[in-house]
């Protein structure tokens, strides 16, 4: 699905590359988490995958970046919209504002794609049901909570039926309830198959529970890559400034005091933690 070979990207006027020799392959339908300290290149990866780097931010690039059959840096944003979806932090900024109800807001992207009304209606209804927004369909998107707005933002992108969904910290301005709403949707999408999900996320407990794979970024490079459970239990995350899940921290503290043998692997999810402490 995603094939990146030795990809580098420089923002305009910058000497240091924001992405520095990225090699990455992500198969179709995988739910891939991305972690790393601030300025490590996580957001830039999102922008590169969705074509905003270089098409929106300009700057220079080299290497290969393909999503499906699409050569992303050599396509236009108009071609990429609908194939690759991007969702980011601030839910208010993602509401176009040009439409007055949730239903019409979700239709906005489809209208821009020039789809027939019948097809727009069909896709909007389908998406409303999938994201569980039917009860809010006639409300103004500006009269919703942050979590609900973020769900509208995700729905608006999903209605365009992208093969790849890229999310840059979509839950960082949300409360626990909003976070849960977003993760439930992503789980549904990845579980249903077909949609590949790349998610930048600070909330490691959630990644541990839902992601198939975790990639760790530092200084524009991929430094760790593997299954979510393996990477999130890795001690190197602490040195990188990513932190650890609360379960891992608690378990490590107990293990240090030698109550529990060193041979037992550190947990990253609630289930693993329960087993660990038994």
């Amino acid at each position: 699905m995603i094939r990146i070979k030795d990809f580098c990207y420089w923002y305009p006027g910058q000497d240091q590359p924001a992405l520095d020799g990225i090699d990455l392959e992500i198969p179709e339908g995988q739910f891939c988490g991305v972690v790393g300290p601030n300025g490590a290149g996580k957001s830039t990866l999102c922008y590169a995958l969705s074509g905003f780097a270089p098409h929106f931010f300009h700057g220079t690039w080299e290497g290969e970046l393909q999503v499906g059959k699409r050569d992303v840096p050599r396509s236009t944003l108009g071609e990429l919209a609908g194939e690759i979806g991007l969702v980011f932090q601030n839910s208010f900024n993602q509401i176009s504002g040009a439409r007055f109800t949730v239903r019409e807001e979700i239709a906005f992207g489809l209208e821009n794609l020039g789809l027939k009304r019948k097809e727009i209606e069909r896709r909007v209804e389908e998406t409303l049901a999938l994201i569980d927004l039917e009860a809010l369909a006639e409300r103004s998107p500006f009269a919703l909570s942050g979590g609900q707005q973020q769900r509208v933002a995700i729905a608006s992108i999903l209605a365009m039926q992208p093969k790849l969904l890229v999310l840059d910290e979509p839950t960082s301005q949300l409360d626990p309830r909003g976070t849960q709403e977003v993760f439930k949707i992503l789980d549904k999408l990845a579980g249903r198959g077909g949609t590949t999900v790349v998610l930048v996320e600070h909330k490691l407990e959630w990644l541990a529970a839902f992601a198939d794979r975790v990639i760790t970024f530092s200084q524009g490079r991929i430094v760790l890559d593997g299954s979510a459970k393996k990477i999130l239990a890795d001690e190197k995350l602490l040195k990188l400034g990513v932190g650890q899940t609360q379960f891992t921290q608690a378990a490590a503290a107990v293990q240090k005091k030698k109550f529990i043998p060193r041979s037992r692997p550190l947990p990253v999810t609630l289930k693993q933690a329960q087993k660990f402490f038994e």
Binding site: L77, A81, S96, G97, A98, F100, G114, S140
Partner: protein, 259 residues
């Protein structure tokens, strides 16, 4: 609806094609400019606008909006035209100035012209969803990006008012003294307005990206979920209204030349 005058409803007025209502608004504007005197203007308002608003089930909000808009004009015009237009019929003396009957009539005539013109616009806004009006205009050739600018700013300005309120309260909590001399108050504006404007500009980048992600800049034809109901009768009526406007303007020019 957030930030607009629109009152939802399902009346005949609501269901008219937005361009038909826009044509009526322009007709009322032409009436405002061409009808000869106060009597004609008030008659047109009572015979045309008031029943139309009642047809739309909007009589109360319409009259209330008209009152809010026209009252300051009536006061200002009665005073300024009333006292400073020369005339033969003194009505009232104040500090050496005379309120004349002719002046008051002239002032009220201008106010009734304003009432006619703005009343037409208010009726359009009260009975038409802004997005429907913009959709109709886009179908007639208005660039979609302009429709976006109008609709989005209508919907997001209340959020900016909230933000301004938050900044004001935060600064007041930090001991910002409002009761100081005018130069100090001027200097206060930068810490108050600066953060509001700056944060909004920084937001623009994300807003633009969100638009691109929704295929906003994709070339080619765009479609719409919303349907606009039109009819051959309304189409004809719009041409009729246009001809009527031209006739009224012609009549008014002819009157001006012949007098």
């Amino acid at each position: 609806m957030h930030g607009t005058l629109f009152v939802s409803g399902n009346s005949g007025l609501h269901r008219l094609h937005p361009l038909t209502k826009l044509a009526l608004t322009f007709l009322f504007l032409v009436f405002a400019a061409t009808l000869p005197n106060l009597l004609w203007l008030l008659a047109a308002f009572v015979i045309l606008l008031v029943p139309m608003s009642a047809w739309g089930g909007l009589l109360r909000p319409f009259l209330r909006s008209c009152l809010v808009v026209i009252t300051p004009f009536v006061i200002s015009l009665s005073i300024i035209q009333g006292f400073f237009t020369p005339g033969e019929t003194p009505l009232f003396h104040l500090a050496g100035f005379v309120l004349t009957g002719e002046g008051l009539l002239a002032g009220l005539t201008v106010a009734s012209r304003i009432l006619m013109a703005l009343g037409g616009a208010l009726l359009l806004m009260l009975s038409t969803r802004p997005d429907m009006l913009m959709l109709a205009l886009t179908r007639s050739g208005l660039p979609g990006s302009l429709a976006y600018v109008v609709l989005t700013s209508i919907q997001i300005f209340p959020r900016f008012q909230e933000r301004a309120q938050v900044i004001l309260e935060a600064q007041q909590a930090r001991g910002l003294e409002i009761k100081v001399n005018i130069f100090k108050r001027l200097r206060l504006l930068v810490p108050l307005m600066g953060p509001l404007v700056l944060s909004s500009i920084v937001d623009v980048e994300e807003r633009a990206m969100a638009l691109e992600a929704r295929a906003f800049s994709r070339p080619g034809r765009k479609t719409s979920l919303l349907a606009l109901a039109d009819s051959p009768g309304q189409h004809l009526a719009r041409w009729g209204l246009l001809l009527l406007m031209l006739a009224l303007i012609g009549w008014s020019i002819w009157r001006a030349i012949s007098s």
